[in-house]
Symmetry: D2
Subunit: 319 residues, 4 copies
């Protein structure tokens, strides 16, 4: 079952999949399956694997590929984007080839720390595109909070103009609303392609970003069904309704947006919802105290009450 | 009218006051008055002036003191904390003496960038306390996102044990919930003082922080009445009610939490609410586009609807 | 005695003057005089005051101006450049006016931390130039190790083309040799001005930079007579001889190039050479241990032996 | 031929080996052999492979192991330290086991970016030591310019006291002379082990560090014979003679100490000296311009003249 190559029309929710481990720290491929099923049940459009955040860097090369294989097999034809950022371009190419052959629809590349100036960014990605060739769709991962590399809209536009394989911007600068608007305005120039823009930062500004022209979300919030419905409503022009729904979940969106502990919270929710067998992280990782758990309990209870008030079934937690 | 010295019992909302300028960029002391009145009308417990964020660094030394003087005169006996961080300790001392003489209740000091290790932090503050002497109450401003300096709980405890004039922690690490809990637990050690903890980061985690033992907020959110009421409800043990109110405002709390543009949004709201005569920032500053304004309009309209649903008067915007 | 305005022909050594304090930490204006005399005796072309490194940030506004005044009075018509970087552009303008009126020949501005992308850098300086007007000569201080802001050669060229008052590049990127060559090559474009380039980083790469087209040095090495003679020899085309002399001092150039302790070493040497009455720094500052002093003693003894071998008088230390 | 395990008596020069590639970018194992021979000919005590700098991150996992294997086979019983830093502790353990089984004498671990405070550093390494067990000798790589993590002497001492397998400090903080002295003084405490300290930063402060108690160097300077002889002379107490020799090479030591372009210079020299077949770096890498080459030519010519004056054979370049 082929998902086809990623292109500029991509939209909806590409969920950033957590990496499940057993309590002993082994990669848990059965939980990869159940988690994939869970995400499918939430209605995601696609998957993003091996991003720069999360626990992908803690996998071996073999484990990484086995995760990609497993999700490809299980994902019912959804498109899969795989992060292939690496210190060496030969490895970027090699990884890209491996995952495309394994069935990925495209790859995602973040700039390495230390690039200098607009030219430095352009030249690096020009090298990447030359190395990968025209047939592998590429997502630019713009996440300066982690990379330290700023992407100027004019640089992104040069890359879009010069390289057809650049089909998506993973928008994760913060603050970044102005940049998003600026990129969309720049696309009105005759001859320039409109690319897909999916947004990150846990979705913290998702309604604003959708109003400004984003096509969806690429993030890992533990209630993906909200992301999916918000994007659906927005696509239908029901933006106020979308934002009403989003605001119900906002306290938890914000709660997950805590570097480090946020991942522990996310895995705990996925565990409680039955999506994975253990919330375990590989060392060094974060874990939850009794205080953290009680706090999360309360935030979830509040979410369920708000959902009930809104006339929505309490499908929040499986327990 | 003396506000008395700041001590460990401080609580409630110490509002971080914006600095108003005329459209031409001159310091607008009349707006300092009206803004002070506005904050008083919101029920703030105290004021924090000349913090490391905002526009205080754009003032001259004389302008800074004139702002302090003006707020002291106008603030009806509320306590005032003044930021006195400076590259040289002689200047920290001089500024501290000037503002205490002018009527401040205490000073706030952030560690300078470049301190190394736990000893580096302890030694710097030990120098500060020696320089200032035992009679000037001091707030430790823990804001590593700006300073790059991590404050270990054990270091804070050593400082609390060794220097009686350290009476408050401005808690602004992110994520920082675990640190807050850790400091409160450490205070159970016999003989250790319990200090005041006020929280920042725009109040983004205020309910969680209050539940974990914070005494209030020190931030500049443009609807201070919400911060005040949330802290009041929490103090009365009505924590769920407090969080309900907070969540109504959360979309805007989050919206202001955008570095740079956040200040433009905050000043725009204060301007719309009649608190200041111009939303102007001194250069280099951020400003709002038509898109930014429409977005803000919509967020405010949504807030007013939620407030109405909650049976609360729409006292949000003065227009 | 007017030194005239700084222009593109500036060359030689603009010494970054240390700020002398008494043992008690007071600004020592008598030592400002003796230090100025010392630098004049070393043959410096000009002075740079109140840079972003060193202890200028520890001065009050009044002290800063008094240092500028004092050096202007004492400097026998040498040109003086004054650092005026500040968080607010109004203050940059005000400081610039004050020091130009006091007799400075030009001002030096570094980009503030946080500027984003090539446009961010260009726009900031365009604002600065607009604020200062066409009559105040400006030096661009390119010191990304401290500011975190990269200056692309193409941005510098745009600024040179658009603003006649930009007359000098303080070159202190590291590594920066390629940038220096790139800027000099770019100046061959018809119609573009050739600006002055003075180099920093303690002079660690001075011979290489002179060969690549630098016009001199702007740094604070404690044996300025070496910098002066090296630049003189280079100007006469005796580059090998210049580098021979430089290499004799290189162990000490390198020794001073230690952030923090380097300033303590520099002040200690200036003190030993009779240029200032005390090596004291204002707190928080670095100081030398017995081990540090013995190490410095040995490095100086070695320098004197090398100078003697080279047939040069041991004018190194006054003792 | 077993080299035995690394212990606290390690000294001399552990050369950080360059990674040779063909002009086409393939790993060049024949050049790994010739480079190993070259280093042996220079008299190095041992080898350090796969450090955090250089091009090791551009290798695949298989390539990395093949380099280790190849050097182990060729290195005539010299001890080999292998960098095993990785985002996940499972991988640190796995890599450590692999390289120890392959014949390494010990492993080197740098702290991951983002560790907070003294406790964060201690706890991370405590986890590492627990993971690796007591039988794998470990080097603490203290390189905050790259990792952003400061190592306090007191933390290092706690680790030395608590974990017998910690046998060496790779000292590369800058400035770091005071820390080195502080660690040596701390070792005088009864019961504390004296560990080996080898220094990095290209050897820029090697004579000062040897005088302060370092046991040798761990760096990749392209004339390793100088490092070897300087360490030998220092071990024999001929410190002035050692420093005389060092100073002859200092202009080139300094020249290599340019981040990025420094590696291109180093590989160019190794290429010229016949140690590797190509100076090629894997992309993205730095390369030399004609100006860079002429500059290097001149610096080498000057070195040869100084060596000749010192009565030393011009064994500098093979050409």
């Amino acid at each position: 079952m082929s998902a086809g190559k990623l292109n500029e029309q991509a939209k909806g929710v590409f969920i950033i999949a957590a990496t499940p481990f057993t309590d002993e720290g082994a990669l848990d491929l059965n939980s990869v399956d159940s988690l994939t099923d869970f995400y499918l049940g939430c209605g995601v459009t696609g998957f993003t694997l091996l991003g720069i955040m999360g626990e992908a860097p803690k996998l071996t090369a073999e484990e990484s590929l086995s995760v990609v294989d497993r999700v490809v097999q299980r994902s019912q034809g959804r498109q899969i984007i795989v992060g292939v950022s690496h210190a060496g371009l030969e490895n970027v190419r090699r990884l890209s080839h491996e995952v495309m052959i394994a069935g990925a629809s495209g790859v995602m590349v973040a700039p390495p720390p230390g690039l200098k100036g607009d030219e430095g960014v352009y030249n690096y990605f020009a090298q990447v595109f030359k190395e990968l060739g025209p047939d592998i769709p590429v997502v630019y991962q713009d996440y300066p909070q982690s990379t330290g590399v700023y992407l100027a809209p004019s640089v992104f536009e040069r890359l879009v103009d010069d390289f057809k394989q650049l089909v998506m911007l993973k928008h994760e600068d913060w603050p970044g609303l102005a940049k998003l608007t600026r990129v969309r305005e720049g696309e009105k120039k005759p001859g320039r392609r409109r690319v897909s823009i999916l947004v990150g930062n846990g979705g913290l500004y998702l309604p604003q970003e959708l109003r400004r022209g984003a096509d969806g979300a690429m993030t890992g919030f533990a209630w993906p069904e909200m992301l999916v419905e918000v994007c659906d409503l927005a696509a239908k022009g029901k933006m106020e309704e979308a934002e009403d729904l989003f605001d119900i979940y906002l306290p938890l969106v914000r709660h997950e947006q805590q570097l480090g502990i946020g991942l522990a919270l996310r895995k705990e929710v996925l565990f409680r919802r039955g999506a994975i067998k253990s919330p375990k992280q590989r060392a060094p990782g974060s874990s939850l105290t009794a205080t953290d758990r009680a706090e999360l309990d309360n935030l979830i209870a509040r979410l369920e009450r708000r959902l009930a008030v809104a006339g929505r079934g309490a499908k929040v937690a499986a327990e």
